[in-house]
């Protein structure tokens, strides 16, 4: 079986979840779609179980933080259909005061540590996760360090500020 065209994927997702899955971009041929957290479990289950799509392989779960947006935290899933050699990226955006999303561990065992890592660094709470603890950072850490409000370097250091470079 050959690669599934992005148009076919958009069509199928649009038919199954009308108005609930929107295309974000197709950068470098990889389709990115956005959905809401109410549908994310169904969307992932559909992508995994549909006999034509068969995105059975969970490549990765991670998150991203856009402090200037209303929905600040994005949770990003990379799925791979091994039989058709197609990849897809699914994103869900959440507001910073309610960072809850259903777990994907019901579909893939491998989602366990990926979600723990995402929780550890971005504070995304995966509901239904069997063991949602910090994984790489120390247990008594109180912040979620990959969020943009935590600077890496000494904030008093000014020689690397963007305005010195005309930005």
């Amino acid at each position: 079986m050959g690669k599934i065209a992005n148009e076919v994927l958009i069509q199928k997702l649009g038919d199954k979840f009308p108005g609930q899955v929107t295309e974000l971009n197709q950068d470098y041929g990889l389709l990115s779609v956005e959905t809401g957290r109410e549908q994310i479990s169904d969307v992932l289950a559909y992508l995994k179980n549909d006999p034509e799509l068969k995105f059975i392989f969970l490549t990765d779960i991670t998150a991203i933080h856009y402090p200037e947006l209303e929905k600040q935290i994005g949770v990003i899933y990379h799925l791979h259909s091994l039989t058709t050699n197609t990849r897809i990226r699914v994103k869900v955006f959440l507001t910073a005061d309610d960072v809850h999303i259903p777990t994907a561990t019901t579909l893939w065992d491998g989602a366990n540590w990926m979600e723990r890592e995402t929780y550890d660094f971005y504070g995304v709470v995966f509901e239904g996760h069997p063991d949602l603890r910090r994984i790489l950072n120390v247990d008594d850490m109180t912040v979620f360090p990959m969020r943009k409000e935590f600077p890496l370097e000494d904030p008093n250091r000014i020689d690397k500020k963007d305005y010195f470079f005309g930005r």
Binding site: N25, D27, Y28, L30, S32, I56, F57, L58, T59, D60, T62, I64, H65, I76, H78, L82, N85, R87, R89, W108, D109, G110, A111, N112, W113, M114, E117, F121, R133, I135, L136, N137, V138, D139, D140, P145, M146, L152, E153, K160, D162, F165, R167
Partner: protein, 403 residues
């Protein structure tokens, strides 16, 4: 210290004993802690604790221009740094729309396959050590040394190589490098054959590894396993074949698979991959002869660091040098996922770029991290001595596990 498994075992009536395997145990090669509940020699349950050498590479990468991220990737899987370096450079090239000349692709293939061989040498020979056969290890290390000498000839360093540039290599391979590669192929053929005849049908080794930690293809896929351990379960997923990068489509090679995913099958898959790697390097050497011998990078002055002698004598080169080092080059606003077949699985780079001096977000899909999470569940009911060789054959590298 809430949630910590070490301190939960306070029931005086329990029949099980708690064993802290690690964080620095001589039988686990790296910083791994597993708190095991033991019933005699048998493991009842286990909890893995990781993160002892977490260095926040993803956070650091958000504050570094592209070139300064390459040394970070060195320190992920430090047994095969060149694959990480090349993977990162190819991710940046994909983002920037740079096409590399065929000669660069073939040179990269040579380096990546050499790195794969060193990684498999370490894993397989140490598996021998853990089953009580030190001899293979002591002999195989000299071949790793030969590959490190090739790295030295090409980039000057051995372990954390920082090899290559965006667009190609920092310098051309010289004649000594080619001689060393050819010589390595000649001697390693003999060495690997010897290693295989020492282990493959060795009664003690086979008894010790056959049937240990069997994994079905379904379980392996559900746990998102990739690399030799997935192929040992019979799934022929290899990024080099599925989504060829760096002109892997020009090469003729096979993707070896195992049958039942046990420690022995993983051992055999890795051995066969080393043969295939040698086959690829030979083809690459032959292909290089047909390419113009002076091309070793793409013509992208805005991203490829100019040679030092030009920086000192040529204004254009000086400007580009500073722009590149300070991250002052125009980059597109886009997101890109690029995967390479690392020595222990699919090494993915998810890069979100906003046109700034450094990535907005860079996530490493680290195969060791994802492969290792099955370790504690699959150890249940296993003998402690089997769990040790199981960890050894998963080839989890602590640097990549903790990033």
């Amino acid at each position: 210290m809430h949630n910590h498994p070490v301190y939960t075992d306070n029931d005086p009536q329990t029949e099980y004993s708690t064993l802290n395997l690690g964080p620095t145990h001589p039988a686990t090669h790296g910083v791994f802690q597993n708190v095991l509940q033991m019933d005699g020699e048998r493991i009842v349950s286990g909890v893995s604790t990781i993160g002892y050498i977490h260095r926040a590479f993803e956070k650091i990468a958000e504050h570094r221009p592209f070139y300064q991220i390459t040394p970070l990737t060195d320190r992920l899987n430090y047994c095969s740094s060149p694959i990480n370096n090349m993977g990162w450079h190819m991710t940046a090239e994909k983002l920037l729309g740079i096409t590399t000349p065929k000669r660069v692709d073939y040179m990269r293939v040579i380096i990546m396959e050499l790195a794969r061989i060193t990684d498999h040498i370490v894993c397989n020979s140490i598996l021998g050590v853990d089953t009580g056969a030190l001899t293979g290890f002591t002999y195989m290390m000299q071949y790793r040394e030969s590959v490190y000498e090739i790295y030295e000839e090409i980039c000057g360093s051995r372990l954390t190589t920082n090899i290559g540039r965006i667009g190609g290599f920092e310098r051309n391979f010289n004649k000594i490098a080619f001689d060393k590669i050819r010589n390595f192929l000649k001697i390693y053929r003999v060495g690997l054959k010897e290693f295989e005849s020492l282990f493959n049908r060795n009664r003690i080794f086979v008894d010790r590894t056959r049937g240990v930690a069997e994994v079905t293809a379904e379980t392996a896929l559900s746990y998102s396993w990739t690399g030799p351990i997935l192929r040992a379960t019979g799934v022929d997923y290899d990024v080099r074949a599925m989504e060829p990068y760096s002109s892997y489509e020009d090469f003729d090679f096979e993707v070896p698979v195992g049958d039942n995913g046990d420690v022995y099958a993983r051992f055999l898959v890795r051995n066969e991959e080393m043969w295939q790697s040698m086959r690829i390097i030979e083809q690459a050497l032959a292909k290089l002869e047909k390419e113009p011998s002076d091309i070793f990078h793409a013509d992208v002055p805005a991203f490829y660091l100019p040679p030092k002698e030009e920086v000192y004598n040529n204004m254009e080169a000086l400007i580009y040098h500073f722009k590149i080092v300070m991250g002052e080059v125009e980059t597109p606003t886009a997101e890109v996922y690029h995967a390479v077949e690392g020595a222990n699985g699919e090494l993915g780079f998810y890069l979100v770029n906003d046109g700034g001096r450094s990535p907005y977000r860079l996530h490493f899909r680290r195969p060791s991290f994802i492969n290792y999470q099955m370790y504690a569940p699959m150890s249940q009911g296993m003998l402690l001595s089997d769990a040790i060789i199981n960890m050894s054959s998963l080839n989890v590298i602590a640097g990549e596990l903790d990033a």
